[in-house]
């Protein structure tokens, strides 16, 4: 007696959790259709795009037109007003401009670190997951070691020893400490996909390992990695801010939200605006990325529908 593949509705009767297969039948196109309509995704991705634009072209958004580095001391510590939208900081610089320019550094570090870490994680994670055996053990052990060092602690340790701390140095350290989590995710994702029958089928048809990885395993293992990468951008931005706040991140004269907050911390009572605006922008940026990642995850994980 035949057990034919049935349409989603039929299968749905016996097991409600099954995936409804759309007309194109692909996970990504289904996800995109879902995402397009979800307000959370729309809002968060708009925010992300906004922040990226500000990072790329801060001048465009700097309507009042103050130079963030042009700081007449007599204008120090002014409250927000029509002239200085966010007030001025301790040195008299226009705070609005400074906060705007601070976006650059955060987004840059966030994206650089996440991209590099993801690429490394995907490459090595796939190799480890697919080949298994000794290669996997080596990579897993290496991951364990770096994993054993918490992000902020390790960041403090290494960066305090480095003299000049610019975007490159901070990014490098964050990449160094951040890839294990990504790699673990990529690896387990690959392992899960590897179990599928279509991999065996491809192998039986004579496909080379490289081709199998590239064509079959990667596209399917990609989904959770993409979700996590999006969220990671947010957490890296927060991490850089935290490190700068503690004094081991970027140094003056770099413009970073973390640095601004660090300077403002003792003046909570007297000049709260110094804390508020960079804090606001930081929170919104991190929030946007995390929200977007969340929406992506809901759309890409059929089980959670």
């Amino acid at each position: 007696m035949t057990e034919p593949m049935t349409s989603a509705a039929l299968v749905g009767a016996e097991a409600i959790e099954e995936i409804p297969i759309g007309p194109e039948g692909s996970l990504w196109s289904d996800a995109w259709r879902l995402l397009r309509r979800r307000p959370i995704f729309i809002i968060s991705s708009l925010l992300v795009i906004l922040m990226v634009l500000i990072a790329l072209f801060p001048g465009l958004f700097n309507f009042p037109g103050y130079n963030p580095r042009d700081c007449p001391l007599q204008d120090a510590r002014l409250r927000p007003s029509a002239e200085h939208w966010f007030g001025t900081d301790l040195l008299g610089c226009d705070y609005y401009a400074r906060v705007l320019y601070g976006t650059r550094v955060s987004i840059a570090i966030g994206i650089i670190v996440t991209t590099v870490a993801t690429v490394v994680a995907l490459i090595f994670g796939s190799i480890a997951g697919y080949y298994g055996g000794l290669v996997d053990t080596l990579i897993a052990r290496a991951t364990d070691v770096v994993f054993a060092i918490p992000l902020i602690l390790g960041g403090i340790l290494i960066l305090s020893l480095v003299g000049q701390r610019g975007i490159m140095q901070v990014s490098a350290v964050l990449i160094l400490l951040g890839w294990p989590t990504m790699l673990r995710l990529a690896r387990s994702s690959v392992l899960a996909v590897k179990e599928n029958d279509y991999v065996d089928a491809a192998r039986a048809l004579g496909a080379s390992s490289f081709r199998i990885i590239r064509r079959h395993i990667l596209p399917n293992a990609l989904a959770p990695v993409i979700v996590y990468a999006t969220i990671t951008v947010g957490t890296i931005i927060a991490a850089e801010a935290a490190l700068s706040f503690l004094g081991v991140g970027l140094q003056l004269p770099a413009i970073s939200w973390g640095l601004m907050i660090s300077v403002a911390q003792n003046r909570l009572r007297t000049d709260p605006h110094l804390l508020f605006f960079p804090g606001l922008f930081l929170s919104i940026t991190v929030f946007a990325f995390i929200l977007m990642g969340d929406a992506l995850r809901d759309a890409l994980d059929p089980k959670l529908r």
């Binding site: 340790l157 020893l161 907050i261 911390q265 991190v286 929030f287 995390i290 929200l291």
Partner: protein, 328 residues
């Protein structure tokens, strides 16, 4: 007539539960040892072996007389060949010599003095995040898409998104300065109460993660086949959820708690700084500020070791919870 199932002979021979767990423990410890050595070696590498002047690494950019410089070199064996340096470094670690600051105070002394405060803070944060986090997660997961669920999801998202130091300042400002209900900094005469706000802030992000993780895990487990079996055994819903699914749901949460400790440590540094708590975290911050890098390295090394041991403990706890893991 009734043959024994032939596949039975291929099953692993019966091993007592305790032995299996014991063997798992041994395996974990054996895995721990190389990680420990490599991690400390990495720290060693960065401090002593990095290109550039290791004195700078240990003492920052401060000006020093040549004799101070030499004293420093002797103290940390910087004139020895690398492998000797490493051996001596490990020796120092095992004897508890974590370095000292420029006034000669041992790092271990500082640790001993400040540890109790940090421990209290961390414990309070931990209890707070575990209890409330798991509770919130359960309430959210049991009625998926209900009011509680959406509330928990939304609020945890906000908490996760706002970086901890911003959160800390908001709390300090709102509760301390504006409303005045909580002390804005540590008061030794009222240790627990004045640590309440820092503990809440410290635990907040973890709480958010724990709540979400519990919720997701619970939701997933509620759809599991064994729930259907348990229900058809005539068990009450409360028992099915409270005993059958909960045990399974806690497994990823326990895993998270291990990682969380690392975040807690990093967060403690920030929280102690904001709320002026005289704990280890603030020590690190002050050391960074004053370029007492030897102290930074010493304390961070200590914390990293603590983190690794804690992870080991959690790994074993995990095996107690989930019997399938004992074969790993």
């Amino acid at each position: 007539m009734d043959r024994i199932d032939p596949l039975d002979s291929y099953r692993p021979t019966l091993v007592k539960k305790e032995t299996l767990l014991g063997r798992y423990l041994v395996r974990r410890i054996l895995q721990f040892i190389p990680v420990f050595f490599v991690a400390t070696a990495i720290i060693f590498l960065f401090v002593y072996l990095m290109p550039g002047d290791p004195i700078r690494a240990l003492a920052g950019d401060r000006q020093m007389s040549p004799s101070t410089r030499q004293a420093l070199r002797d103290r940390y064996d910087l004139d020895d060949p690398f492998h000797v340096q490493y051996v001596k470094y490990m020796g120092r670690l095992f004897t508890g010599d974590l370095g000292e600051d420029f006034r000669g105070q041992q790092v271990t002394e500082k640790l001993a003095a400040k540890l109790p405060v940090t421990m209290r803070l961390a414990l309070m944060a931990f209890v707070f995040e575990v209890v409330i986090g798991i509770l919130a997660g359960i309430l959210a997961g049991v009625r998926k898409n209900g009011f509680m669920d959406n509330l928990v999801l939304a609020s945890t998202l906000v908490v996760i998104a706002i970086p901890i130091f911003v959160l800390g300042f908001i709390a300090q400002y709102m509760l301390g300065v504006r409303l005045g209900v909580m002390p804005i900094s540590y008061n030794p005469s009222r240790p627990t109460f004045s640590l309440l706000m820092p503990a809440l802030v410290l635990g907040s992000v973890s709480l958010a993660y724990i709540a979400r993780l519990t919720r997701t895990s619970l939701v997933e487990n509620l759809r599991a086949d064994y729930v259907r079996t348990a229900t058809s055994k005539g068990l009450s819903r409360r028992r099915v959820v409270g005993i059958h699914t909960l045990r399974n749901s806690m497994i990823p949460v326990v895993t998270y708690l291990a990682i969380d400790l690392g975040a807690l440590m990093g967060g403690a540094i920030i929280t102690e700084t904001i709320f002026n708590v005289p704990g280890i975290g603030r020590e690190v911050y002050n050391a960074v500020r004053s370029q007492e890098n030897a102290v930074v390295v010493g304390i961070v090394t200590f914390l990293v070791v603590v983190y690794m041991v804690a992870n080991l403990v959690v790994d074993v706890l995990y095996a107690v919870l989930d019997p399938r893991i004992r074969y790993d």
